[in-house]
Symmetry: C2
Subunit: 128 residues, 2 copies
DNA sequence: ATGCCGAATGATAATCACTATCACTATCAT
DNA sequence: ATGATAGTGATAGTGATTATCATTCGGCAT
């Protein structure tokens, strides 16, 4: 019932073209740069639909949602509170511990989000 | 420079009185019930200040921030996407794996947030 | 006591990400 | 072609949170 329209295809192509973590404005702006003008509401709906279909991944930060390519292995994020950079990491052992915890409580996991906040290597070095 | 004023003390007492996960409106409403009327802006500022001082803990959900008592061992959260209930769990092994990952990348962890989304035991049983 | 100063308060306006509305359009099945 | 269904885009609305600003509070030095 969800359609992959021309607009959504354009959004998907844009996101697949880089490893960035996009918010809705980023996408709308980048598309406009290429002469493709899509209403902001459509961008929001498109991002939600694409994430729903598993074609892109979403992460919920404190202020806004960001989206990234889905054609990578699952991973979680390290977020620098100083420069805002986002690094990715993959730790299968954490995933299986999550499953264990959920199983113990009869909880059925549908998704998860692990964010580590702190200082990235560069910012740590620059701290006085 | 941050002061523990009468208003903030009232907020803190309220939160320490139960194991709930409070949002700003919850706190304002509960205080009003007791005849203590505090401006909503003051509640927001008070919650932020108390969390800043480590007197309460905060968790950032998709829609809003929630606060809870800090006088418990560190834990993470299981959030039911059907009924909204929040369970807590503690898994030290996950914490140490996080430290390992960060150390490998020269990242200095200042905090983290692990949310597991899905169906709680009750809601899982009620699903057709 | 008095005056000063930085911080807090509270009413309210503003912000910001996001969602709803609604008229219109595109797509697809019959 | 016809109708059903979903999508689009401009714009208004929503809801949590923050900024503004005049006023007040709590210490501390005089």
């Amino acid at each position: 019932m969800q359609k992959l329209t021309a607009q959504r295809q354009a959004i998907l192509d844009m996101i697949n073209r880089s490893d960035k973590h996009w918010d809705a404005d980023d996408v709308a702006y980048a598309l406009k740069e290429e002469g493709i003008s899509i209403g902001i509401a459509t961008v929001y709906r498109g991002l939600a639909a694409l994430a729903d279909q598993g074609l892109i991944e979403s992460i919920q930060l404190a202020d806004k949602k960001r989206y990234e390519r889905a054609d990578k292995a699952h991973h979680d994020h390290l977020i620098c509170t100083r420069c805002g950079s986002i690094e990715e990491f993959c730790e299968p052992e954490i995933e299986s511990l999550q499953d264990k915890v959920a199983a113990e409580r009869g909880f059925k996991i549908e998704g998860h989000q692990l964010l580590l906040f702190g200082l990235c290597k560069t910012c740590k070095a620059e701290e006085s």
